[in-house]
Structure formats: structure tokens, C-alpha cells
């Protein structure tokens, strides 16, 4: 009797096990870090406080607002997206610590929109993103080095590189400011290496060159920049740095009644943030700038219109500017990436999906995306814009004249690229 029972027990156990494995086969596998039956966890490091935070501190909340909107509309294959923001105060050492927290403690599936070139370089080196295979989507930096697939196999850029931007500005200078005395103020790190290298390759010669060390920007240091520019007689001044440096530069110039033609690099030219930092709108009037996206005030644009609606509902009280637009757009791109990775996303699958399908993703920017199996390049071009008396941005010459190029020796060409339409209601349905 005992023997019989034992046999029966063994058989029962085997049956239960078999049934269990059948169930396990039928159910989706949730073995990937940061993905559960109901949730996909993502993370971002960025400066939420401190001198470098103005503007940048809006990106995470904007992204989150877009994710909330998607979550309320069914999520991604039924899963809700959770975004964890970590404040790195723009300090590379802190970026390492916070990214370690995201990966080891919070166990995020992927990083989205990590910000800062020095910061991401530090993180990539110290956290071992490539070895871990953690996808780093849509970096908020334009350093062309990050497009090197062999070094950054799990990372994707979104912004055109600083080299592309400099090449396009160089072309614009040639076409519109020939014969003028040129000056440049630039951040003297990889930002500058990318930009200055491209200006040099394009044959642009600056009469006054003012490098500044990242982190040293203040009203006092801006005073020395302006003195050098004015003493050198610069009539057209290119600024290639971050907003926390643009603001003192323009404010000090205004006070000194030094008024060259400003060409403000895309990174440090958001009018709303500059005005919030005390730059008089009159100083911005007439400033020229390369732009990748439509003006955040252009409600005739389907992307802007949709994102503004989302911002009003899910990011209440936050003025809609370039940074909010950037955050929302990264959200939109991320959702497309997650959808393209399928209903059971893995880190490898996400990377592969962006490599194979990412170049056709809908994005607010006018220029093509460069993703492929061999390229991490994001958007590839700019149009030149000019700021008006209201601090708004309009295409230079009245219509968008889009230039595209690469980060190397390729030419700057006028593009006829037609960007994909905004998905219906701003909700991607791609696969």
C-alpha cells in the first residue's frame, strides 16, 4: 500500500511538473531585467538641481508626462512604463553612482536620454554599459564619438553631432556673413573638439577665439569673454556651449552694449530658459541659431500640437519649450523602440529593433535618423533659424531650409527629406 501511494505521488508530481512546464511555455517569459508582466522600468540621469540644471531639469518630467499619456492609453503591449529620474547635478562622478543605482538597485531595463558628454563618457567607462548590454537610448549629447558602434554598441544618439552642427553653421557663415570679423566662444572640452575640428575642416577662420572650461561659467568669467570679443572687434559671434554659459554671455554683453550678430549653438539657445535666466528678450531678437525641431510655439505642426496637449494635461504648470519638446520626443522614440522590440522585449531585442527599424521612427525633428546595424547616429541635420522680438524662433529666410551632413568629411547638402507623420493621437502602433 505504501509503495502504491509513493508511486502515485511520484506520478502526480511528474504530472504537475509537466503541466507547470506547459504553462511556463505558454506564458510570455519575463526573464529580462526591468520588465515584468505589467511594467517596463526605465532610468535617466540628468542635472535636476544646480547651476547646469536650468532647462535640462525639464527633460525627465516631460518624458514622464508622455509615458503617463501612453500608459493611460494601454501602455506598450499592456505594460506601463515607469521612468526613474536621478539627479547627477552634472557631475560625472555622481552620474556613475546614480547610474549604478539605476542598474543595480532599481534594475531598469534601459537608460533613456542620459545627459552630458563627460557624464556619459564616465558612465560608459565605469559602469560597463557595453559589457552589461544595457541599452542607452537617445543620449542628450551631440558628441560624435558616441556614434562609434564598436565602442558604444548599446547606445543610440538622437541629436545631430556637434561636428554636424559646426559644419552647417560654417556653411551658413559662408553664405550669409562672408567678410565679417568672426568670433567664437566655446566649451573647451569634447564639445569644442567636435565643433572646432569641424569649423577648421570647413575652412572657417575665427578672428577671436574664446574657450571656456566647463563649470567655470559665471557672470565674472563672461566679463572676460566679452572683453576679448569686443577688443577683437568680432562682428559675428558663434556660441558653442550650454545654456548656463549662454545666459551670462548675453547678459554681460547687453550690459556692456556689445551687440554682435549672435549665432547660438542649438544646445544653449532655448529662448524661454535664457529669459528665465535673466537675458533680456531684446538681446535675443535677431539672434541666429541652428535648429533641428520646429519652434515649440508652432502649433501648426502636428507634433507640437499633440505634445502641447500632453504637456498641459500631464505636466501641468510647465511652460512648453525646447527642453520639454526634447523630452516628449525622446518618449515618443522610446515607445516606438519598445514596440519594435516586440511583446516580450529583451535588451538585445531592443537594440536590434532600433538598429533595423529605428531610422523610420516618427520624430519631431526635420532631418533623417541614421540608425542601422553599423551606425548609432541619430538625427543628421539642421535648418537655420532666427529669434524674433518675442523670443520665438522662425526659419531664417521664412522657410525651413534643411541641411544634412555627417560628422566626417562629407558635404553639407540641402535635404528634401520628408519626416514621418506623427502617429495618430501621438500613440505609436508600429511593431
Amino acid at each position: 500500500m505504501i509503495r502504491k501511494t509513493r508511486r502515485r505521488g511520484t506520478w502526480l508530481a511528474a504530472t504537475v511538473l509537466a503541466a507547470g512546464s506547459l504553462i511556463a511555455t505558454a506564458l510570455p517569459a519575463y526573464a529580462e531585467t526591468g520588465v515584468t508582466r505589467g511594467e517596463i522600468k526605465l532610468g535617466i540621469t540628468l542635472p535636476l538641481t544646480g547651476a547646469a540644471s536650468p532647462g535640462y531639469n525639464k527633460i525627465g518630467n516631460a518624458m514622464n508626462a508622455y509615458f503617463k499619456y501612453v500608459n493611460e492609453n494601454g501602455g506598450v503591449y499592456g505594460r506601463k512604463i515607469t521612468l526613474i529620474q536621478k539627479n547627477d547635478e552634472y557631475s560625472p562622478q555622481l552620474s556613475i553612482a546614480k547610474t549604478n543605482e539605476l542598474i543595480l538597485k532599481d534594475k531598469v531595463f534601459a537608460l533613456v536620454g542620459p545627459l552630458g558628454t563627460a557624464n556619459f563618457t564616465a558612465v560608459h567607462k565605469s559602469v560597463g554599459l557595453a559589457k552589461r548590454g544595457v541599452p542607452s537610448l537617445f543620449l542628450n549629447t551631440g558628441f560624435s564619438g558616441f556614434a562609434k558602434k564598436t565602442s558604444y554598441p548599446a547606445s543610440f544618439m538622437i541629436l545631430p553631432s556637434y561636428a554636424m552642427e559646426a559644419k552647417i553653421i560654417a556653411q551658413f557663415l559662408k553664405e550669409n556673413h562672408a567678410g565679417k570679423k568672426l568670433g567664437i566662444v566655446y566649451q573647451n572640452d569634447e564639445f569644442g573638439i567636435d565643433g572646432m575640428g569641424a569649423f577648421k575642416a570647413a575652412g572657417t577662420k575665427f578672428d577671436v577665439t574664446v574657450p571656456y572650461t566647463s563649470g567655470s561659467q559665471s557672470a565674472a568669467t563672461a566679463q572676460t569673454w566679452v572683453s576679448q570679443l569686443a577688443a577683437g572687434g568680432a562682428q559675428v559671434v558663434v556660441f558653442f556651449g550650454v545654456t548656463s554659459a549662454t545666459a551670462p554671455l548675453l547678459a554681460v554683453s547687453a550690459a556692456a552694449k556689445y551687440a554682435p550678430q549672435w549665432i547660438l549653438g542649438s544646445v544653449g539657445s532655448d529662448p524661454l530658459t535664457l529669459r528665465a535666466l535673466g537675458v533680456p528678450v531684446a538681446v535675443l531678437n535677431g539672434a541666429q541659431t541652428p535648429a533641428g525641431n520646429p519652434s515649440p510655439n508652432d502649433t501648426s505642426d502636428e507634433y507640437i500640437k499633440q505634445f502641447q496637449e500632453i504637456n498641459t494635461k500631464y505636466n501641468t504648470g510647465t511652460a512648453f519649450d525646447d527642453y520639454v519638446l526634447q523630452g516628449m520626443n525622446i518618449g515618443l522614440m522610446t515607445v516606438q523602440g519598445l514596440r519594435a522590440a516586440g511583446s516580450n522585449p529583451t535588451r538585445k531585442g531592443l537594440i536590434s529593433a532600433i538598429e533595423t527599424k529605428g531610422s523610420s521612427f516618427a520624430s519631431v525633428a526635420y532631418s533623417p535618423l541614421g540608425y542601422s546595424k553599423t551606425s548609432n547616429v541619430g538625427h543628421t541635420g539642421y535648418y537655420m533659424a532666427v529669434m524674433d522680438a518675442n523670443g520665438d524662433r522662425k526659419p531664417f529666410g521664412g522657410t525651413v531650409k534643411l541641411y544634412t551632413t555627417d560628422s566626417g568629411s562629407g558635404p553639407v547638402v540641402l535635404s528634401t527629406f520628408k519626416r514621418p507623420a506623427m502617429p495618430a493621437k501621438g500613440l505609436p502602433s508600429n511593431s
Binding site: 547635478e89 549604478n100 563627460a118 567607462k125 566649451q187 572650461t213 566647463s214
Partner: protein, 541 residues
């Protein structure tokens, strides 16, 4: 940027902890049997191995058959005159150390559980790995003869002792059943490259009369090395004073002979470059390279975070590493018969190609980096003695090939044995493991070989720099976890002792939830197989 005062001198908080030694009375002549006394159910035996190295055995009455063999860290092999910060007054000692620092809490906890502990003081101080390994092998035999019921020997050690321990595990799996290397030193050649680069950097930027190596033989060389110690600490002290006086643009020390044009670059950037090119971490005991005093304007705070705090971290770590660099260089040159550091072919620009972006502000931007590296490219280099370098390279090195459970544990901001030391053994073991797995697959097997290496890390908190009410950095507080050399708690030590006991009994490491729970309870221990510490510069890190 406001000026500030340190609450405590940096140079005074240097590596004195390295020199904590248990003082006991020991026989001076090698003898066949140790002299034993029993008190409170613990028998303490003192004796010496045939090489005259004194040892100590401590065995409880309820001995369970397992003994922990501890190998102590580097002790200078020359006396150090009074007046030299941190080391002054040191006399060479070979006092045995049966547990880390002779810590009574650790010894008591192990004895209470029935374990025995033992350790040698080794016959020679300085870099003594080759002779110490032999001493330890003999000591194991001595212990087994004294206590025939011995079944397991667990090896553990700190720093140089960690090197010795790993070598024992690789070479004598028949004698050792499990091992743990704390804050381990890696092979001597990469280690001396760190010391040489750091000393050469200090000499080049701050005081060209520092010899930094190639010391004369005999007493003259000893005097030169002691002179170097004084000069190194003087330069570091001068840099500290300069930063205190003007954090944004500290003056160059009076002893510096760099060209006037280079002095336009803040001297603090040279400190950062020396740390980066040597591979010395950029977080130190009291400086996290991220914090700024509260209440200062945002722009000043950012500048402090990105430029000043990293310079102070570099300064504090160099204060810890450089003195030991002088002593070890002198020692190795004595052993090898000539200069062991050669940087005639070193490309320092390539060395810092990644980090120069990360630490751009601290290095004063591209202009600062270019000027500093440009100077390094044109000044005379240190030329080594090929025969001496070859002799040093012939000393014991690690293969990483272990077939018994081994544990590695280090702080990721250890300034003396940077985490790349541990990483080099992790990498070597990974290659060995891959080799073994390939062999299994080739033989049509499917079972993965056991993973015999458990690498643990102590990672500093994101922020830990403390400031006084006046806004000055406070270096009187305890060093942050993961910083300083061999900065571990008793709880961490005992957690690893328990992991070793488990591994010794079962032949495998504790894993999964029980492992994670144990290390979580000990605090500040990270187990992460994906973690990769920066390689030592010698290995291309």
C-alpha cells in the same frame, strides 16, 4: 570661490593604518617546536620557521579542525626617521599577525566558533611574496604537526598579504581549502608602474630634485629615499596650502621648475593629471569629487564639484600612495639590483584619452590638458635598468587559475592598491574559466565548471564629503567606505570569514539569496558580476 581651511592636515591622515601591528614577545631563533601557553581555553604558540620568521598560532580548546592563515600587508624594510609624516619613527618589525591588524574582535569571534588562527611575521619585510609563500607553506606544516586533527586551512590576507594569499591558492590547492584576498596587490610590475608614474609626476610638476627612483646602493640610497619622502610630503603639503589659499587658481609650489607659461594652468590640474595617468582613483577618504559646500552661489558650487573637489581627492590619494611608492621603489631596486621604473616609451596622452573628457573641468579644459601633457612630452624620462626590470618581472606573478573557492574584496577607491589590482585577477580567472568551459564543450560535456571566484567590491557612497559650518572640508571624520587602503569593518571581515568557512567545508561558494543576505547585513559590500573596475594603466586601463 571662497577660501577655506582644512579641519585636519591631509598629510597626517596618510597610511599610518598600514603600520598597525600586534606587539608580542617572540622567539628570535628558529626552533622545531613552538613555545605554547594556555589561558582562558586558548593555546597560544610562538615559534619561528626555518627562515627565522616568527609565527603565532592561537587555538581554542574546542578546535574544530579549521585554521585561518593570515598574511599581513607591506611593511617597510627600512627604518624611517622621526619627523616624516605618517611613517616617522617606524622600525622594521617582523612581529607575527594572526588576523587582520591583530584585531581582538576578529580573533575572538573566530576562536569562539572553534576555529584556530595563525600568522607569520615573515623573515623579510618589503615586497616579500616569494619568500612569504614558502614561509606560509612551512607554517601550515608546523600547525598540522602541532594539531594533527587539522582538516582545513583557510588563507586570507591584506594588500601584499592578499597577493601572497592568491598565490597560495593558485599554487597549493592541496594545502588550502579556500582563500580571501582583501585590497589585494596585483603583480609587482604593474604595481611599480603606478608608483613610478605617480612619483615621476610629482617630481616633474612640483619638485625636480625628487629622485623618484634609481637610488644609489647601500646607505647612500637609503638616505636618498628618505630625502625623497621628505620632499614628496613637502610638495604635497605645499599643494594643500596653495589650494586652501586659492582653490580656483592655487599657486605652484616654490620648488616647482615648470616653465612660467605652464604656471598659467592651475597647479591643482597637475595633481589631477598625475592621479589619472597613474591610475589612482579620483575619490578619496574625504573627497567624493561631487560635493560642494552648502550655501555658496550655484556657479561656484558647480565649479567646486567639477574642479576643486576632484583636485582635493587627487591630493589626498597621492598623499597616501606616493610615500609607499618611494619605499617600495627603494625596496624593489635593492632586490632587483637597479632602477625598475622606465617610462621612456610611455604615452601619457594616450593614458588619459578617455578621462580627459570626464575630468575636463578639473584639468582646466583642453587648453590645460594640452599644456600639461605637452610638458610631459618634452621633459626627460626615467630610464630603467633592463636587467633589474627583468629580475623584478621574474618574481611570482598571478595566473588567476584557482580550483578552490577564492574570494576577492576591495574598495573601488583604494589609493594604494587601486581596484584594477583585483580586476586583473578577475580577468585572469575569467580567461581560465572560459578555457575550462571550452574544454568541457569540446569533450561533449554540458555541465559548466564550478565558479571558484567570488569578487566583492566596496563602493563609496555617491556623496560623502563633509563641510564645517564655515564651509571648509572636514577631514577629521572617518574615511568613507570603499576609500583608503584596506578600509574594512569588522563586520565585513567576519562576513567573509563565514563565507570562507562555508566554502572550505562544501568546496563551493555560498550563492543566491543567502549570499546576498550575508553581504547586505555586513554593509557596503557589492556582489555584481557585471562590475568592471578600471584596469590598471599597465594593462591599458
Amino acid at each position: 570661490m571662497k577660501n577655506f581651511k582644512f579641519k585636519r592636515s591631509l598629510t597626517l591622515i596618510a597610511v599610518s593604518s598600514l603600520l598597525s601591528i600586534t606587539v608580542v614577545s617572540i622567539p628570535t631563533v628558529a626552533q622545531a617546536a613552538p613555545a605554547c601557553t594556555t589561558a582562558n581555553y586558548v593555546t597560544t604558540c610562538l615559534g619561528a620557521t626555518t627562515d627565522t620568521a616568527p609565527y603565532m598560532l592561537m587555538t581554542p580548546a574546542n578546535f574544530n579542525g579549521t585554521v585561518y592563515l593570515y598574511s599581513h600587508g607591506y611593511r617597510p624594510n627600512v627604518p624611517i626617521p622621526l619627523g616624516i609624516p605618517a611613517y616617522g619613527g617606524y622600525t622594521v618589525t617582523n612581529t607575527p599577525e594572526p588576523a587582520p591588524g591583530g584585531n581582538p574582535q576578529i580573533i575572538g569571534a573566530l576562536l569562539a566558533k572553534g576555529f584556530a588562527v595563525m600568522g607569520s611575521g615573515f623573515a623579510r619585510q618589503g615586497w616579500n611574496a616569494d619568500s612569504a609563500i614558502k614561509t606560509n607553506v612551512e607554517l601550515i606544516d608546523v600547525f598540522k604537526k602541532q594539531y594533527p586533527k587539522t582538516t582545513k586551512v583557510i588563507a586570507w590576507g591584506d594588500s601584499l598579504g592578499g597577493f601572497i594569499t592568491q598565490a597560495l591558492a593558485e599554487k597549493y590547492p592541496n594545502l588550502i581549502s579556500a582563500s580571501a584576498s582583501f585590497c589585494m596587490a596585483s603583480d609587482i610590475t604593474p604595481l611599480m608602474t603606478v608608483a613610478g608614474d605617480a612619483l615621476w609626476g610629482i617630481k616633474t610638476f612640483f619638485d625636480s630634485t625628487i629622485k623618484g627612483g634609481n637610488y644609489a646602493a647601500g646607505p647612500a640610497g637609503y638616505a636618498e629615499s628618505m630625502g625623497d619622502l621628505v620632499k614628496v610630503f613637502t610638495a604635497i603639503g605645499a599643494m594643500q596650502a596653495a589650494i586652501v589659499a586659492n582653490p580656483a587658481a592655487p599657486a605652484w609650489p616654490a620648488t616647482s621648475t615648470v616653465p612660467a607659461a605652464l604656471k598659467a594652468v592651475p597647479s591643482r590640474s597637475a595633481l589631477v593629471l598625475i592621479a589619472l595617468m597613474s591610475g589612482i582613483p579620483m575619490q578619496s577618504a574625504h573627497f567624493d569629487s561631487t560635493s560642494a559646500p552648502a550655501g555658496i552661489p550655484a556657479a561656484s558650487a558647480l565649479s567646486f564639484q567639477l574642479a576643486i573637489n576632484p583636485a582635493l581627492a587627487a591630493l589626498e590619494n597621492l598623499a597616501n600612495a606616493a610615500a609607499l611608492g618611494v619605499l617600495a621603489t627603494h625596496d624593489l631596486e635593492l632586490q632587483a639590483g637597479g632602477a625598475v621604473f622606465d617610462n621612456t616609451a610611455t604615452d601619457y596622452a594616450a593614458r588619459v584619452s578617455d578621462e580627459q573628457f570626464i575630468w575636463s573641468s578639473a584639468l582646466s579644459g583642453n587648453a590645460g590638458i594640452g599644456a600639461l601633457l605637452g610638458y610631459l612630452a618634452v621633459v626627460p624620462r626615467a630610464k630603467g635598468n633592463p636587467a633589474a626590470i627583468a629580475k623584478m618581472a621574474s618574481l611570482t606573478t598571478h595566473t588567476g587559475k584557482v580550483d578552490i573557492p577564492t574570494i576577492l574584496f576591495t574598495g573601488t577607491a583604494d589609493p594604494v592598491t587601486a581596484p584594477g589590482n583585483q580586476q586583473s585577477v578577475v580577468d585572469k580567472y575569467a580567461a581560465y574559466y572560459a578555457e575550462k568551459w571550452e574544454a568541457v564543450k569540446k569533450a561533449k560535456g554540458y555541465k559548466r565548471p564550478a565558479n571558484n571566484q567570488l569578487a566583492l567590491w566596496s563602493i563609496p557612497p555617491a556623496k560623502y564629503t563633509k563641510f564645517t559650518a564655515a564651509g571648509s572640508p572636514d577631514t577629521s571624520v572617518a574615511a568613507a567606505p570603499g576609500t583608503n587602503h584596506c578600509n574594512f569593518t569588522v563586520a565585513q571581515r567576519l562576513a567573509i570569514a563565514e563565507l570562507l568557512a562555508y566554502a572550505s567545508l562544501t568546496g563551493k561558494h555560498l550563492s543566491g539569496g543567502p549570499l546576498l543576505t550575508k553581504i547586505r547585513k555586513a554593509g557596503n559590500m557589492t556582489y555584481d558580476r557585471g562590475y568592471n573596475a578600471p584596469k590598471m594603466k599597465y594593462y591599458g586601463g
